[in-house]
């Protein structure tokens, strides 16, 4: 393995879940986990089990809703979908994330210049 996998920052997993649900529509836990792995190109270190802590937290905050249903291959599974509040939160978090990454990028550029 060339690069070690990225540890997820606190709260980033929640944002990923929200974004996944917003983009893909209702999904079960396994589907969300797989989707995140695929999109990240297996670059994030994700114990799939941890996704459930994130899911229950988001449900409690009212940003996503959960419902038992049947999967594509006829298994009983819990499906999650984003709520209106969740979309609002997603928009806010996205804005925040962009600003933060911009600032971080500028900061890091500055330090590599000044380091000479």
């Amino acid at each position: 393995m060339a690069d070690s996998k990225l540890d997820l920052l606190q709260g980033t997993l929640d944002l990923m879940v929200l974004q996944t649900l917003a983009a893909m529509g209702p999904l079960h836990g396994y589907g969300i986990a797989r989707r995140i792995e695929q999109v990240s190109g297996d670059a994030v270190l994700l114990n799939q089990g941890t996704i459930y802590a994130s899911l229950v937290r988001l449900v409690q905050r009212g940003w996503i809703a959960a419902e038992w249903g049947t999967s594509e291959n006829n298994r009983r599974a819990r499906f999650y979908s984003i709520t209106r509040n969740g979309r609002k939160q997603l928009a806010e978090d996205t804005r925040y994330w962009h600003r933060l990454s911009e600032v971080m990028a500028r900061m890091l550029a500055l330090s590599s210049d000044g380091g000479e």
């Binding site: 079960h28 396994y30 114990n47 799939q48 089990g49 941890t50 459930y52 802590a53 229950v56």
Partner: protein, 879 residues
């Protein structure tokens, strides 16, 4: 914001619905693994491999479940619940320890809460009046001459009312009342009633409003006005069964139809504030125009004007009073008043402050001993649990978590102790509140209130931290590997551990020593007080208030009383009988008394009792010289007086007083006898000058029949009452008062403190003893092997015993040395509470030290005995 509230709400719900949510998670995880395996099979893995990969990708199921719980619930609370559950489990396993710990703590906390309630009631809480901090008490400077010397005449009181500029209102009451001054008739048997005359504005000044009815109307406060009384709540309940319609009706008091104007509220208890240990039934108006010629009769209470300080008002009173005449009608009687003003609260409870603080400290020391003792017990326990803790720490429990576990344990113990303590305190406080004869003020207000509850919680918390700390601290030093090794403790840990426990026990012994010495000094003082020669014999004597009607004629009075006494003395079992108008230690009055032909001096006064022939004998006074009165001392024969030794010495120093003439209130009285001094105004107060006048020659205020008998007074009560009723059908149903009770009432505050401090000292001794036993016995257990080796090498049983006892002795002596040093300091602090006892009373110090040492040795002997029974073979074979 909304999301936050919703989250908290959901978390709380999740915390409470733990199991269904766990099940939901399990189901979801199972579905997840199924989906993952199926996909892996599709990717071409064997079913086993597919399942394995799915598990790997998922991560630990248990960890995921924990995270799920943390994310949805209240993780801290979860931990707490876990800790609590674990604590209950361990305590249940160690039931003996838990019970002892909770009981000890319960005693310590209970004692503290009870004493706090007393201190709070008497010292800390304001008086139960409106703005009580604005009330000022004015009396004369304290003197040995009884109430007459500290009271004011009606004229002086009214002058002060008129001339002061610092009081919003000035009021007064008359303290010269007896327990049966009034007689309630017309409702079955005549009942004795106690009442206090108070000035018309008394209740307004204090800010007390009647519970029912009204206060006095103006036409009830003038001479020859309509007679009206106010009832105390308790009297109303007792005598009228809480009948509201009694207000506005008339009752017969001393054969006078008297209007019941109102009932005072339950919270107003005159006795509790102004005359601790007594209860007043009714309040009657003190009418100044009636009392004008009665001399000094009033004690004054004033309410400060807004903006005036206590100091300004006091200074004003001190300048005003010396200008007041004894009687405005007779300026020639002179003006000799002084004012000694103080805050009312100070008057009520000031003199108890020191005793109460000592009591508070004593009970605080008990709590300290309790904590030290429990620390010790817990320490012994945690030492035994080293392996358990080491194991848990090896399994991944953080040090913080382990210390938290220990603190949870001590918190649970002290919470249980607090509950036991509260029950105990409620019980003690309820009992104290009903000690009607205990002469401590405000006891009617005594209860375990929210403040005391808060105090309990605080004490329990402090105790928990204090005794949980030592084992917790110790734990942070435990060496994991050492502890896990099979042998248990390494030698160094053991020794340090012993030293710590030794230090705790020494502290305990030192504290117990201080308590014992303090209690010993107070006890010795109390015994000294009980041993005081009162000048009369309270044992086997009792008094009863009697009523008679002499129509104001001294000659008739003599005949009635002589007949009454003859009949009473004829009752079998009665050895002597006599009548006085004021009993010693009960109430008193003071008249001017000088020696005829000698220049008057400021000390020319004496406590006066007006008595019948035979009284001296009945109460057990000692006639030193001369004779007792006789019925032949009649109204028209020469006036005669019997004086006390102090009076004789003061008036005719170095001379024989018999046959001399005393000037009493301006009249000539011939001295016919001298009696030993009587402690009239207080057991601990040296006797002043006293004189006795015959009932046939002076006007008595009431009559107390004193009988001396070998029978218990209540056996006699019936026949005496029958005799009295035969002479006077109006005789109220008064009860016999054993004279012992008067003395016991007078010394009750001292007894109260001695009993409590003594009980605390006993408790301290017991706890210290337990501590010693614990430490020594633990050391013996730990050294079983070593002792076994020694015995195998030839040490005798006696030698082994001696070694253990020497160990005990070392601890005890160190504790006693520290305790004695502290005791010297404490003894000085309580010096003012002692009576006839030096602060460094050798006997007390010696006896208490000896007692402590003896008990310590006893506590050490049991383990020593056990050590000497160790069988070397067994000790060496077992690990």
């Amino acid at each position: 914001m909304y999301a936050r509230i919703r989250e908290v709400w959901n978390r709380l719900r999740a915390f409470l619905r733990r199991e269904p949510l766990d099940r939901e998670f399990d189901e979801e995880a199972a579905a997840h693994l199924e989906l993952a395996s199926e996909e892996n099979v599709r990717l071409g893995m064997t079913p086993e491999e597919a399942r394995r990969q799915a598990l790997v990708q998922f991560g630990g199921i248990q960890q995921a479940r924990e995270r799920h719980r943390e994310a949805r619930g209240l993780p801290r609370l979860d931990v707490l619940v876990q800790d609590l559950r674990f604590t209950f489990r361990t305590l249940r396993r160690d039931r003996g320890f838990a019970i002892v710990a909770v009981l000890i703590l319960g005693l310590g906390i209970g004692a503290n809460v009870a004493v706090f309630s007393v201190v709070d009631t008497i010292l800390l809480r304001p008086l139960p009046f409106r703005n009580p901090e604005r009330l000022m008490w004015i009396q004369g400077p304290p003197a040995d001459c009884g109430l007459s010397c500290v009271t004011y005449s009606a004229d002086a009181f009214q002058e002060y009312q008129r001339r002061n500029h610092s009081m919003e209102s000035v009021t007064a009451y008359m303290p010269f009342y007896g327990p049966s001054d009034y007689r309630l008739t017309g409702r079955g048997e005549p009942q004795p009633v106690s009442g206090v005359p108070v000035a018309g504005n008394f209740f307004q000044t204090l800010g007390v409003t009647p519970y029912l009815g009204r206060l006095w109307a103006p036409d009830e406060l003038v001479k020859n006005g309509r007679p009206a009384v106010l009832l105390s709540y308790y009297f109303w309940k007792r005598e009228f069964h809480g009948d509201r319609s009694i207000v506005g009706q008339t009752i017969d008091l001393n054969n006078t139809p008297t209007l019941v104007a109102g009932v005072m509220p339950r919270s107003f208890d005159f006795g509790a504030v102004f005359a601790p240990g007594t209860r007043l039934d009714i309040y009657v108006p003190a009418i100044m125009d009636v009392m004008r010629d009665w001399g000094n009769t009033l004690l004054i209470v004033g309410r400060l004007k807004p903006g005036v300080t206590m100091g300004q008002a006091a200074a004003e009173a001190q300048t005003l009073f010396p200008n007041f005449y004894f009687s405005n009608k007779h300026p020639e009687y002179g003006k000799h008043y002084q004012a000694w003003p103080q805050p009312l609260k100070e008057h009520v409870s000031g003199r108890l402050r020191r005793s109460l603080i000592v009591l508070w400290c004593a009970v605080g020391m008990i709590l300290l001993i309790v904590c030290v003792n429990l620390s010790n017990l817990l320490l012994a326990r945690t030492a035994a649990r080293d392996r358990e803790f080491a194991m848990r720490s090896a399994l991944g429990a953080g040090r913080g978590r382990l210390i938290r576990q220990l603190l949870t344990e001590s918190l649970v113990l002290s919470a249980a102790g607090a509950v036991v303590g509260l029950v105990l305190a409620y019980w003690v406080v309820a009992w104290l509140g009903h000690q009607g004869s205990l002469a401590l003020p405000l006891l009617n207000e005594l209860r375990v209130d929210p403040k005391a509850l808060g105090w309990t919680v605080l004490i329990a918390l402090i105790a928990a931290v204090l005794f949980g700390l030592a084992p917790g601290l110790r734990f942070s030093r435990v060496n994991l590997q050492n502890a896990l090794k099979d042998g248990g403790h390494g030698a160094t840990t053991g020794r340090r551990h012993d030293r710590m426990r030794g230090a705790l026990v020494i502290t305990e012994i030192a504290l117990a020593c201080v308590l014992l010495v303090g209690a010993g000094l107070l006890l010795r003082s109390f015994l000294n007080v009980l041993n005081i020669d009162l000048g009369f014999q309270p044992e086997h004597a009792a008094a009863i208030s009697v009523d008679y009607n002499d129509g104001g004629s001294a000659a008739k009075r003599g005949a009635i009383l002589e007949q009454m006494l003859d009949k009473v003395k004829a009752i079998p079992g009665i050895e002597a009988a006599g009548i006085t108008d004021m009993l010693p230690l009960d109430r008193n009055r003071n008249w001017g008394m000088g020696a005829k032909g000698v220049a008057p001096s400021p000390n020319d006064y004496a406590l006066i009792q007006i008595v019948t022939p035979g009284y001296l004998d009945a109460i057990g006074m000692r006639l030193k010289e001369g004779r007792d009165f006789a019925w032949s001392d009649k109204a028209d024969s020469q006036r005669v007086v019997i004086v006390s030794e102090s009076a004789a010495k003061g008036l005719w120093p170095g001379q024989d007083p018999i046959g001399r003439t005393a000037l009493i209130n301006g009249q000539d009285w011939r001295v016919v006898g001298v009696v030993a001094d009587v402690r009239d105004t207080g057991v601990e107060r040296a006797a002043g000058r006293e004189a006795y006048l015959p009932t046939t020659q002076a006007g008595p205020e009431g009559a107390e029949l004193v009988v001396r008998t070998t029978l218990p007074p209540n056996v006699l009560a019936k026949s005496v009452m029958a005799t009295l009723r035969g002479l006077n059908p109006g005789q109220p149903a008064t009860e016999f008062r054993p004279l012992d009770a008067l003395v016991s009432h007078a010394v009750s505050p001292r007894r109260f403190f001695v009993v409590l401090v003594g009980a605390f000292a006993g408790l301290g001794l017991l706890l210290a003893c337990l501590g010693i036993y614990g430490v020594i016995s633990y050391a013996v257990t730990r050294q079983t092997q070593e002792i076994g080796i020694r015995m195998a090498l030839g040490a005798s049983r006696a030698r082994v015993q001696l070694a253990v006892i020497a160990n005990t002795l070392r601890l005890a002596l160190a504790g006693i040395a520290a305790g004695l040093a502290a005791s010297f300091f404490v003894a000085q602090l309580i010096a003012s509470l002692l009576f006839g006892t030096q602060p460094f009373d050798l006997l007390t110090f010696g006896a208490m030290t000896g007692l402590l040492l003896l008990v310590a040795l006893l506590a050490g002997y049991l383990p020593a005995f056990r050590a000497s029974r160790i069988d070397p073979m067994v000790a060496l074979r077992t690990n």
